[in-house]
Symmetry: C2
């Protein structure tokens, strides 16, 4: 791919300023225009590697002056085409901003640059007695996780990024630098800009620093797997658990297809039945009590005996297997691709939503492992399709649309944690109605020339 002529002015200025940290090589550009999704990638015209907020300001000012779009890039693990340079422009790679700026153990918080990944952070704070609970599976950057409002397995107990970001440093479309909040745990001082930028997917500004809450490592942690005769029994046991107020830390559904995939991919020997992966956090006595109560609930839905994993290594292996379920499922279908879905519904509707979805899958002749953060009412199907077969692609897309409309009809959302990118843009109106016009007004107020990751979240 030849170097594009578009946006030459900005690229020339950026090269002058950043030298070798500005790349227009085809390989670098292509790697920065695609994420882990099935959506068509689109390479940016150039990639610039920033090392500080001040550098981001310079880059944004150059691009703003010349009308060049900017797309921020972290780990590239988004799932709805978030990083595709739909209108060309410059990709701003933030992975070089990987410093942990402060860890405040007494307050249980820390401030990191946007390119720090969740695993790097947890490794760094290992000896503090604190941990950062948000784990979207991939080892994403905290900037990217904030930008997509990520969550993951622990969200049922600890919340997602929305609940755990204390404040952000953001470079606005005109180069102004804004700090959205201070480190106090509570504030009612002005509009909640922190939450406005969490989930804004780079469309309102570039997140360069993230302050997050950290949580005390529980005195006792106990993980287990629990098999059920069928998927609805597992889901109903989950619903009853949540409704009982049991403060389970993780409660993850893995259907029998996904269990098979995990066994093969991660070398486990789980019985290939619908299974809940669970984790309980608390004091020794508290964890024992929670476990016993969950056991009573599960038994009422045909749940089998627990397989316990109290040792750290066994527990880590289990959750590592859970986190690679996406790749494990894909590995079962060589030559195929996967289309992940991501609806979330009020928990009272979850069993019904999954039952109808299973029926729809069967009727549509689509193979699709199901996994879910079921404690939140959030589940994923991974629709397996042959990328060279347009009919299969269309069938999966039609299925996803039906699934989303089903979730919306149940007062749910088209995306529990993956975000909109451009892959779900078409569903914004159905989900939000008139609220889309309010989002558009906010976007135009903060990015009047539509240069910040254009074509994502809201249509302009």
């Amino acid at each position: 791919m030849a170097e594009p002529a578009r946006n030459r002015g900005a690229i020339d200025l950026l090269r002058e300023r950043f030298g070798a940290r500005l790349s227009t090589s085809a390989a670098v550009r292509e790697a920065h225009g695609k994420d882990e999704s099935y959506h068509a990638p689109q390479a940016p015209d150039a990639v610039v590697f920033a090392h500080s907020t001040d550098e981001v300001v310079e880059i944004v000012q150059i691009c703003a002056a010349l009308g060049t779009p900017i797309i921020p890039f972290g780990a590239g693990t988004s799932l709805e085409g978030h990083v595709a340079a739909l209108q060309g422009g410059v990709c701003l790679d933030l992975t070089g901003m990987n410093k942990i700026l402060s860890v405040n153990t007494e307050d249980g918080d820390c401030v990191v640059e946007a390119g720090v990944t969740r695993k790097t952070l947890n490794e760094y704070i290992r000896d503090t007695g604190l941990f950062f609970p948000i784990d979207p599976g991939a080892d994403a950057t905290l900037g990217g996780m904030a930008a997509t409002s990520a969550s993951g397995t622990n969200a049922v107990r600890y919340g997602g990024m929305r609940e755990n970001v204390l404040g952000l440093t953001v470079v606005m479309a005109d180069g102004r630098v804004v700090r959205t909040a201070r480190r106090a745990r509570k504030s009612s001082s002005g509009y909640d800009l922190t939450r406005l930028f969490v989930g804004s997917e780079g469309t309102l500004g570039i997140i360069t620093e993230v302050a997050v809450k950290l949580h005390p490592v529980p005195e006792a942690i106990s993980a287990a797997t629990c098999r059920f005769p069928d998927i609805l029994s597992a889901v109903n046991a989950t619903i009853a658990t949540i409704q009982s107020g049991l403060p389970v830390a993780r409660i993850e559904l893995i259907d029998e297809i996904s269990v098979a995939g995990i066994n093969k991919y991660s070398g486990l020997n789980l019985v290939e039945q619908p299974t809940l992966f669970l984790e309980f956090h608390g004091t020794e006595a508290g964890v024992r009590e929670q476990t016993q109560r969950f056991g009573e609930i599960a038994a009422g839905y045909g749940g089998g005996a627990f397989d316990w994993a109290t040792k750290t290594e066994v527990r880590n292996k289990l959750w590592e297997a859970r986190h690679t379920a996406y790749y494990a499922s894909l590995a079962m279908y060589p030559g195929k691709k996967g289309m992940p879905t991501d609806v979330c519904v009020p928990i009272s509707r979850l069993a019904e939503c999954i039952a109808e979805t299973k029926r729809d899958l069967a009727e549509s002749g689509i193979e699709a492992p199901i996994i879910g953060h079921v404690g939140d009412g959030n589940f994923h199907t991974l629709l397996i399709f042959d990328p060279d077969n347009p009919e299969e692609v269309a069938r999966c897309k039609a299925f996803n649309e039906r699934l989303i409309l089903r979730a919306l009809a149940m007062d749910g959302t088209c995306t529990g944690e993956h975000g909109i990118g451009y892959g779900k843009l078409a569903f914004m109106q159905a989900e939000h109605g008139e609220a889309v016009s309010v989002m558009r007004a906010v976007k135009l107020a903060l990015d009047p020339h539509n240069l910040m990751n254009p074509g994502k979240v809201v249509r302009i």
Copy 2:
């Protein structure tokens, strides 16, 4: 006070449409231009009583067409002049919108009209096994609590309105009706409009319906008071409790002056020493365990024996006394007024902040009971002053300014839960810097003619 000539056009149209539900009587107007604060009230030109979202739309459209400001009004219990009609206009009284629209016990949520108060809601759901934990002391409306991002004693465990509002129905400045979110517990679908309107104090739109999370009533609840030799010992015990990860549900500081006030006002017999009011929620065993651990921590800071209140009536009496502490303190100083302060700092700085504040109070010769939601790093002083003595007023204002700058220097906020209104407008720049310009851009995008509660939160 004669009926004002300002905004006559809108008022005539509203009277035609709403008849007796439009009032221009001096008494009604004056009652709607003041809150519970010391800030100068300002009566609106008229008050209209709305009974539905559709009526709010009609009112907003009439006012928008004629350029008349609108100020929403709930219980009138705000503390920073939020409801003063600084530029005249129409006060929109929402207390007639007092229907509970749905209670979804299986999902642990409910939807109410904006005028429902927290006590009404908790009374209504009494038999469901669920409760709504946010209690700002006053029996505020849920619309008002959302608008000011209220919190209160339970926030340390359950969060405030920011964490507990699931979605809002909002009438925008041009009469559009927006629903900010559906009932799913998680979503990363578009900008977080819910959190944008929480804390927006009526300046971006009128909240007419509120969906909130409900929580299971704990199996066991245990409340206690624990005395300390001095205020810093109580604060340090709190800090140690929070840092240990103990999931205390309430941990409230009451200084010796406030204890005296409460004893007199609520007929209690507490020893007049700095005291923590505590509550533990959990299973029977869990509450026992939490209590024991707190006891060990407290003993390390000279904490005395607990006075227990496990019986519901005794517990209610205790918290009722806590909630009336503001009025109890005022009652100790007949003829005087009180200026409540509301800083919140990272908990590691709380003892230092309170110590410096006590010193400043002594040096300034100001009497001021101190109470605090200390588990969040949030505390209030109630500065007692003679309203007829301008020097005293000025001294208290200067003290409040020093207190706020002290909190900001500790990475804290000028208001943990009372909001900005017009009383704290002067501190927005010091706290937020460049972020104020972002807030202003959002305000102008959603309310271009500055008719929604003008003069509050951001200067236009």
